[in-house]
């Protein structure tokens, strides 16, 4: 289980001429020993040519990208992306209960300020502009990347606070591999998952499936009544994904992907509220096709995706209403590697939205949006890397502002590669300035009554400055640290307020400033038969309203609701002789205000989870028994007001892996 803080975006041997997947291949090219996958006995070589499925982060100079690869995600095989990110990164999730809506907040911004991309396509609900992270099972993705900070030039609308990139990449070579997992846990949790992959030199296939269900009838705090258990919080969730890559001819690649998810959830009532038997059904279908061609210095790709999201919600006081959101997207990118140090990428994107929201929109709504972008990467010297990106989006009736990004990285200190030193160090300084935007969502434009097609997009202006340090000692020790300071001003922040006739309308209301500090460090030690890792991260966030229009009732100068000032995570992992595995992770959050007036708050909390596992080999199969304990300190906490979170719980997993 490894957690990469990825900063290496070296152009690498450009004779290969393809964008490089940051988390996977950069270390391979830097000639490091391949890291054995902790789940299979067989070590496998990373292929020399890796075609990235997501927007290449080689143009994202000066930002930080936290990547969780398949090894790091293996602990969350039957969990969701919300669980994985909450345990490994200091970003804050508002959980409306166990397995309920998980709403992200990166750098003090709200859920609609985070763009979620699947293999390069934005999969936020077009109606809300947000994603529910508990609807993303980890099983379908091989890499989960988090890029905090404004990134609209690369990722489009909504990447104001940050972007989460999900990608499922099957591997070439390696033959047939399979694994099965069964889980059983507290409060009626049961899950089964399977993963099958097949790779030859020309074909790579990966299928994954997951089914999980839980009752979530955990005991409530005693003050609400002795012996009371949470009602109406059960869920059933499933996911199926299929990824395929086929190499055609010389330098061509065809990729197909499908991701189907479904969830039937009872909506957990808040503490003290009547049980209204709320129920939500979510179905998502995501299909993708891509053709990529590499010819000498030129790389080009054409890709298309079709997304369908269907949501139905109803309870005792609200008749079930369905939302049907269909999005078709197409993208094309052309990259010219003019010299090994200079790359230019030009691209365009088209999105076609069709949405029907019962009791919301007036009939069917459809809209076309376009964007064009240019990305430049220039490395004047081996130690200095620069990037300049720009994107212009077109939304019917308006034009969000141009979103340029400038980034730079400079290796202040770098141990010469040729020198035979046991100690290798790198100290880099990075800086980034970006303009980002969030185009209005379909709800904001078409909600009946109250929607405003003339609503302006939110815009953000962000700057960040950071230091990265990496130290390697004799192939045994590795220590990586990173420190980033940032500031962002988000203008025309939208809030829905009651207007004429008591009808709620969205309004561009205020200017919000977020600023803070992010620090992380990771220590890895590898010995004979023993490996250990320790990681710590800390984030300090100040998010405040600076000014607002007269209609804005919220006060100025106090911390925004649900933005903790301090968050920290600390985790450690140990493996012995590929047989034993032990890990512990803790997270800490300071208090959060529950409303804009900063008068009521949820107290800070500390969570601890641990797991112990044992590998066995039986008849060529690798068997892993894993026991995980969550919330070991039995803390009573809430991440959203009045939504109870489960106390101490445990999950037992049995995993069978073939090769």
């Amino acid at each position: 289980m490894q957690w990469f803080v990825c900063w290496m975006r070296r152009p690498g041997p450009l004779a290969l001429g393809l964008g490089l997947c940051c988390a996977c291949s950069a270390p391979a090219l830097a000639q490091q020993p391949t890291r054995p996958d902790t789940l299979t006995k067989q070590t496998h070589l990373l292929p020399t040519v890796e075609v990235a499925g997501s927007r290449p982060s080689r143009f994202a100079i000066g930002t930080r990208v936290l990547a969780l690869d398949s090894a790091a995600l293996s602990q969350f095989r039957s969990a969701t992306v919300a669980d994985a990110l909450a345990a490994r990164t200091p970003i804050y999730f508002k959980n409306y209960g166990a397995g309920q809506l998980a709403s992200v907040s990166i750098r003090g911004t709200s859920a609609r300020h985070t763009a979620v991309l699947w293999n390069g396509f934005n999969i936020n609900f077009s109606s809300l502009g947000e994603s529910d992270f508990s609807l993303f099972p980890v099983n379908a993705a091989t890499t989960v990347q988090l890029q905090p900070g404004p990134g609209s030039a690369l990722y489009g609308t909504g990447a104001v606070g940050g972007a989460v990139l999900l990608s499922g990449q099957p591997r070439f070579g390696g033959g047939l591999r399979a694994s099965l997992q069964a889980d059983a846990g507290s409060f009626g949790l049961a899950a089964g998952s399977a993963e099958l992959s097949y790779g030859t030199e020309r074909l790579a296939l990966r299928s994954s499936g997951l089914y999980r269900t839980a009752q979530n009838d955990f005991p409530l705090p005693e003050v609400y009544g002795a012996g009371l258990r949470q009602e109406n919080a059960a869920f059933t969730q499933w996911s199926f994904s299929q990824d395929a890559r086929l190499r055609l001819g010389q330098g061509g690649q065809l990729a197909l992907a499908a991701w189907l998810t479904g969830a039937d959830r009872q909506i957990q009532p808040s503490l003290g509220a009547a049980n209204r038997h709320g129920r939500e059904t979510d179905r998502s279908t995501r299909l993708l096709a891509e053709y990529r061609q590499v010819q000498g210095r030129y790389e080009g790709s054409v890709r298309a995706a079709w997304l369908l999201d269907q949501l139905v919600y109803g309870d005792d006081t609200l008749a079930p209403g369905a939302s049907d959101l269909q999005t078709s997207q197409a993208q094309t990118e052309h990259t010219l590697n003019i010299t090994p140090q200079l790359s230019l990428r030009l691209g365009a994107e088209v999105q076609h939205f069709v949405a029907t929201v019962e009791n919301g929109y007036d009939g069917r709504v459809s809209e076309n949006r376009y964007a064009a972008f240019g990305l430049l990467r220039y490395d004047p010297w081996p130690r200095l890397r620069l990037s300049a990106n720009v994107r212009q989006a077109f939304v019917p009736g308006q034009r969000p502002p141009l979103a340029p990004t400038l980034g730079a990285e400079w290796d202040v200190l770098l141990t010469d590669e040729a020198a035979p030193a046991a100690l290798r160090q790198r100290l880099s300084l990075k800086a980034n300035a970006a303009r980002s935007y969030r185009a209005p969502t379909l709800n904001e434009r078409y909600w009946n009554p109250g929607g405003r097609p003339d609503l302006l997009p939110e815009t953000g202006e962000g700057y960040e400055l950071g230091l990265q340090h990496e130290l390697k000692l004799a192939d045994r020790w590795q220590w990586r640290s990173e420190l980033t300071a940032y500031q962002q001003l988000v203008d025309n922040w939208v809030q829905w307020l009651p207007g004429r006739g008591g009808i709620y309308t969205p309004q561009n209301l205020r200017l919000v400033r977020t600023r803070g500090l992010e620090a992380s460090t990771a220590l890895d030690w590898q010995g004979r038969g023993y490996r250990a890792a320790a990681r710590a991260s800390y984030a300090y966030t100040l998010a405040q309203k600076q000014q607002g229009y007269a209609a804005d009732p919220d006060p100025v100068g106090s911390q925004l609701a649900y933005v903790p000032e301090h968050t920290a995570t600390l985790s450690t992992e140990h493996t012995w002789r590929e047989y034993w595995l032990l890990s512990a992770a803790s997270s800490l959050s300071s208090f959060r205000y529950t409303s804009a007036s900063a008068s009521e708050f949820l107290p800070g909390y500390f969570l601890l989870q641990a797991s112990a596992g044992r590998h066995f080999t039986v008849a060529g199969l690798r068997l892993t028994l894993l026991a995980q304990g969550f919330n070991l300190t039995n803390t009573r906490y809430q991440t959203y007001a009045a939504r109870a979170m489960p106390p101490r719980s445990a999950v037992l997993s049995l995993r069978l892996a073939w090769r």
Binding site: S270, L271, G272, D315, T317, S595, S599, A642
Partner: protein, 346 residues
């Protein structure tokens, strides 16, 4: 040191013993317990996740944001406190989001009982000290069914009877042994015999009604404001001749529309989107200019000095209450909880 301690302790133990003796012979504490504060204003805050009842002390102008949680093991009220009423020394808090009415003792705000068996309760009107009526909505948006009025026995805190009315009943008025119930999605007022608790008749109105008061002349005023209708109305009639109505029409704005009177009943107040208006009992039109150029989510008139209290419509954070003289001049303001919708004066 030890000696000094003992010397100090001896008179103390003596005092303690004396106190014990005295208190042991005290009569039953219940009758002579602390009484509810006076010269105060209770502000009913609907809240979003957690409602609150705030207390404003008129003498020293201090505000206690939440009376309930500190008095009840820090467990907050729960969602959507719609209405509060006081009967004798008990407070009745209608929790629309929790489907119950919490009964508290007014002097310390500790909960003593809960009235359950309700569904989305809205307003509470007492008939003497032994029974009360609670309006309840039935059905689910957008297909609401006919609502009902539940008759609550205040002695046992149980529901003794249910009376069906029309869709989405709201505020009620008890007058001359008749209970008039507004129905916000039906064009009629339900009239219930308050002695027998039997539905007698319906009075036709121009649209759905929400608020109802009586004035000094004994007439009934009803505020009709239905979501989606083009017109709102203030309807006035004599209870003896309910079909002879004076109807004052104005543009619909569905902004809560608090309908209130002062203690004497010679001034009627209504808070609309364009402002808060003051009418006389014989008015036949809305005044050209409002008394206060501001809409309030909660409106209250102090019976002692006719000071006007207006709460702002803030749902994302704590709201403010502005105080005005009876002529509409602002006095001061204070902060309360989220979405204050009414005031109780003691």
């Amino acid at each position: 040191m030890k000696k000094k301690l003992f010397v100090f302790l001896r008179p103390l133990t003596g005092l303690a013993a004396a106190a014990l003796l005295l208190t042991a012979c005290d009569p039953d504490k219940e009758n002579t317990g602390p009484s509810a504060p006076t010269n105060v204003v209770y502000v009913v805050n609907e809240g979003t996740t957690n409602a609150a009842v705030s207390l404003y002390n008129k003498a020293d102008k201090t505000v206690q944001r939440d009376l309930f949680a500190p008095a009840n093991s820090n467990v907050p009220l729960g969602p959507f406190l719609q209405n509060m009423a006081v009967v004798d020394d008990k407070g009745y808090l209608v929790m629309n989001g929790a489907d119950k009415v919490e009964v508290v003792q007014m002097h310390n705000f500790q909960r003593t009982a809960t009235i359950s068996g309700l569904q989305t309760p809205r307003y509470f009107t007492a008939n003497g000290s032994s029974k009360a009526y609670v309006t309840e909505w039935q059905g689910a948006y957008p297909n609401y069914r006919a609502g009902r009025v539940s008759v609550v026995d205040l002695g046992s805190n149980t529901i003794s009877k249910r009376i069906g009315v029309r869709v989405n009943p709201e505020q009620m008025l008890l007058l001359n042994n008749k209970l008039y119930v507004t129905n916000s999605y039906s064009d009629s007022l339900a009239v219930i015999n308050a002695g027998t608790d039997v539905l007698e008749s319906y009075i036709a109105l121009p649209s759905g009604s929400k608020g109802i008061v009586r004035d000094a002349a004994g007439n009934i005023w009803v505020l009709c404001s239905e979501y989606g209708d083009p017109q709102d109305y203030l309807v006035r009639f004599n209870p003896a001749t309910p079909t002879q109505q004076v109807r004052i029409a104005f543009d619909n704005d569905y902004q809560n529309g608090n309908l209130r009177t002062n203690e004497a009943g010679n001034k009627i107040y209504v808070s609309l989107g364009s402002g808060t208006y003051e009418l006389t009992p014989t008015a036949t039109a809305l005044p050209a200019t409002p008394l206060i150029r501001r809409n309030f989510y909660g409106l209250g008139i102090d019976p002692t000095d006719n000071t006007i209290y207006g709460g702002t419509a803030s749902f994302s954070g704590d709201a403010k209450v502005y105080r005005y003289t009876s002529t509409g001049a602002v006095i001061d303001s204070f902060r309360v909880g989220v979405a204050p919708n009414s005031f109780l004066f003691r």
